[in-house]
Amino acid sequence: MTALAELIRRDIKIALRVGGGALIGVLFFLTVTVLMPFAIGPDLALLTRLGPAILWLGALLASLLTLDRLFTADHEDGSLDLIVMGRTPLELACAAKALAHWLAAGVPLIAATPALGLMLNLDAAATSAVALTLLVGTPALTFTGMIGAALAVTLHRGGLLLAVLVLPLSIPVLIFGVAASQAAITGPLSFGTPFSILCALSLVSLVVGPFAAAASLRYGLD
């Protein structure tokens, strides 16, 4: 257990230090949502209606932006070899790395949501609905994204490949994330239905992601 805790601590520490890139995601998220009202115009009703979708899109792209470094950094400096050889099962190590990535890059996105909701004319209830769906949905983005990140390790410049592989997998998360937020704001659907499906998507990815990533790392090393 200490091994996994240490791995999480190390990854968060690296992400938060200079050049770590944890803040790049938040900055990107901020830029997209701040520019949106300028592009759409001062129609407050329209902004409110599009708000949850804009926030979700921003969060999705922001999490993609930082994901491709999840394994490549460790692969380039040889750390990945030692992690594969170690006594900790690779599946657990992958899960720990994804968790660390979510804590360092995903949680700040959720924390920034209330401030950005203000920009999009969302009231308190709507903003908290979006934040709640992001809290439940972003782990699914990280854990499915991890599969693509693991596949991209062996290919140089796998960044684009990551987007192509991961985006289709994240479409359901996007659909139900936005649907749940909209349901909470305008109805007529109940909030519970899409929200439960979103939870289910996250739980499935928590289970499948580490195994798929570990398998592709084992196969891809050379």
Binding site: T2, A3, R10, G20, G78, L82, D222
Partner: protein, 200 residues
């Protein structure tokens, strides 16, 4: 302990690197893998470390811990140093000690043993190539593993560093360890040679 390989075939990128290779090494012994560039020295080490899958043949460790696989009982010191520039020397080493697990030695003692005692809190980004190598060697000391797989261990080390490393290896052998080292330069200790053929 006896580490042996039988009839190992290695194919990389559709090309046979070596075929039908046999080797063995016993406790307290160094097996120096020598041969020209491209003869498969690194591939052999990575095969033993479990990082490459052999196309044929087997690698066995007899007399090790029954519940652990060979890679879990091995240290691998590759070309790349597995150091994070954002972390300090101390943090880098402490991470590997805690992550690799098993019997752990004293951290500051290991750093002192490789001559990095003065740089404990320096970020690894500021280390020279030789110092990075020394820090990797400290990893071998801080976590105990019976089998050491070393790929060009003395590259980037100065003469004093090479002497120091020879001492480190001697101590490991005296404790019953096995060392397999791919090398072009003499290691400074007695070693059995495994000569790899020219590029096939």
């Amino acid at each position: 302990m006896r580490l042996s390989g039988r009839q190992i075939d290695c194919i990389r990128g559709g090309r046979s690197v070596f075929a039908g290779l046999d080797f063995e090494a016993f406790s307290g012994e160094v097996l120096a893998v020598v041969g020209p560039n491209g003869s498969g020295k690194t591939s052999l080490l990575r095969l033993i470390a479990g990082l490459l899958v052999p196309a044929g043949g087997t690698v066995d460790l007899e007399g090790g811990e029954a519940e652990l696989t060979l890679p879990e009982q091995s240290h691998y010191l590759g070309h790349r140093d597995a150091l994070k520039p954002a972390l300090s020397v101390h943090e880098n080493l402490a991470f590997w000690r805690d992550f690799l697990g098993g019997a752990a030695g004293d951290l500051s003692q290991s750093l002192a043993a490789v001559g990095l005692g003065h740089a404990t809190y320096l970020p690894a980004a500021y280390l020279s190539a030789g110092q990075r190598r020394r820090l990797s060697i400290a990893r071998l000391l801080v976590v105990r593993r019976p089998v050491w797989l070393l790929d060009e261990p003395t590259s980037a080390l100065d003469t004093a560093g090479q002497d120091l490393f020879a001492g480190v290896m001697r101590e490991h052998l005296a404790g019953g360890g096995i060392i397999i080292a791919a090398t072009h330069t003499p290691l400074g200790i007695d070693a059995r040679e495994l000569r790899m053929g020219g590029a096939a």
